[in-house]
Symmetry: C2
Amino acid sequence: MHICEKCCIFAQNFSISLRMRLKEEQYAPMWELSPIWATLTEEERVRVAEQVEIVRYEKNEIIHNDGDESQYVWMLLKGKVRIYKEGIGQRLQIIRLLKPYDIFGYRACTVNEPYNSSASAFEACMVYRLNREFFNELIRENGKFCYEVMLMMAKDLAFSEIQTVNLTQKHIRGRLAESLLLLLKNYGYEEDGQTLAMLLPREDLANMSNMTTSNAIRTLSQFAQEGIVGIDGRHVKILNEKALERISRLG
Amino acid sequence: MHICEKCCIFAQNFSISLRMRLKEEQYAPMWELSPIWATLTEEERVRVAEQVEIVRYEKNEIIHNDGDESQYVWMLLKGKVRIYKEGIGQRLQIIRLLKPYDIFGYRACTVNEPYNSSASAFEACMVYRLNREFFNELIRENGKFCYEVMLMMAKDLAFSEIQTVNLTQKHIRGRLAESLLLLLKNYGYEEDGQTLAMLLPREDLANMSNMTTSNAIRTLSQFAQEGIVGIDGRHVKILNEKALERISRLG
DNA sequence: ATAAATTTATGTTTTTTAGCATATTTTCAC
DNA sequence: GTGAAAATATGCTAAAAAACATAAATTTAT
């Protein structure tokens, strides 16, 4: 593909053109938000600018379903997303939690397979969305981009294997502690420096931790009684991170 | 790197030169054994020929340990290998089983991280071994090779996520059935068409299936009593594959 | 603001699985 | 081949977690 003057001008004005599309909210172009897209050439950025769509998903809206033909790669711009699989008897297992600028749906796209998990929005979300075929074009033509996608997959694979052992071998308390620390690592604290910046229903906490909802409720209450966490509805304060780490480590 | 006449001749005679190194046993060059290495250019094949080592590991010998600095990428030539993680209280979880021409250790190498799992030989094994730095050179300079490595990782990631749900949500019988089917899929049958071509100690079967050894023994005996499998020491016959699939599916 | 629905809390029972004990069989080293 | 060690088999007990039940609190829709 050629790079004509017109394209270059378009590229330079890209953020402006994007902002025109999206009336209410403004987002930087992808390559400013994640090092993965920063590997794209100017010419590729122009094409991305032409292809990318901005989509809004409402609270609890399903973005893709396990088994659906893969069609899009997404980058989360705003909000939080859960990636999960449905196992035996409609029991969900949350595999991964996403925060802004995380990329998802890409694994299935790279291998042209159906998605092997589902994604839904915890809260109202904004995403960039790219077509599978276009994403694969980028991977095939740009070695650096392919390399970055591979590195991202390597991270996801390591996490998945660690989680397998965490979820199978640790006892309930260890699994819950693990999940709370994960939430902390992923989303951090509110301004007060101890309340988790994530209002998570107990059911989701259970689905992260491979336990029933009532055990998540019960065990979290126990942690509160022991002064390890503070509970105020869905607001959870981490009062003793060291204790959580110890419980998580010992299983 | 240049491609001189000498190199070309060397490349053409590569398999012979390899066979000279390895006195007892002969193996085809990597690019004939796995599509991943087939993406290498002639020039790269020459360098691989210079770099590759053939190593033998004895029964139960550890190939790499979780936490070790990553140094090599391996391709299994002969034998069987278990990839596992140690969790709580020395309890092992087998993450993956390898058969000839499977590649392992590559994830840690791509990200220059320590291995995040251990590998040991079920039985005496032969492997090709490549240096991490050289492997990364290949990835960085050859987009097609990088793409193949990414695809391999995508497969491993999908498998890992499926296993997480299998191991956490299914009951003992479901998990054992799952493991037996996995062994079947991976290693197939003996000549008789029903004995698993894998003599697996019950302890390993337990470590695959997230259960204690005595539960693996007990549950396998139950399957035998129900006529689903036949047991003759470590030789396991699959008598009713459909039943195993049903048990695995229902959890 | 109020009623209905959902979520959280907590106690009890049942099921599942681990842990332990012991006997038997098989494998391995010499 | 023989004895020691390891692996397999099986029963019993204890612990862990799910399932169920019910009530209270919170959220949501109107």
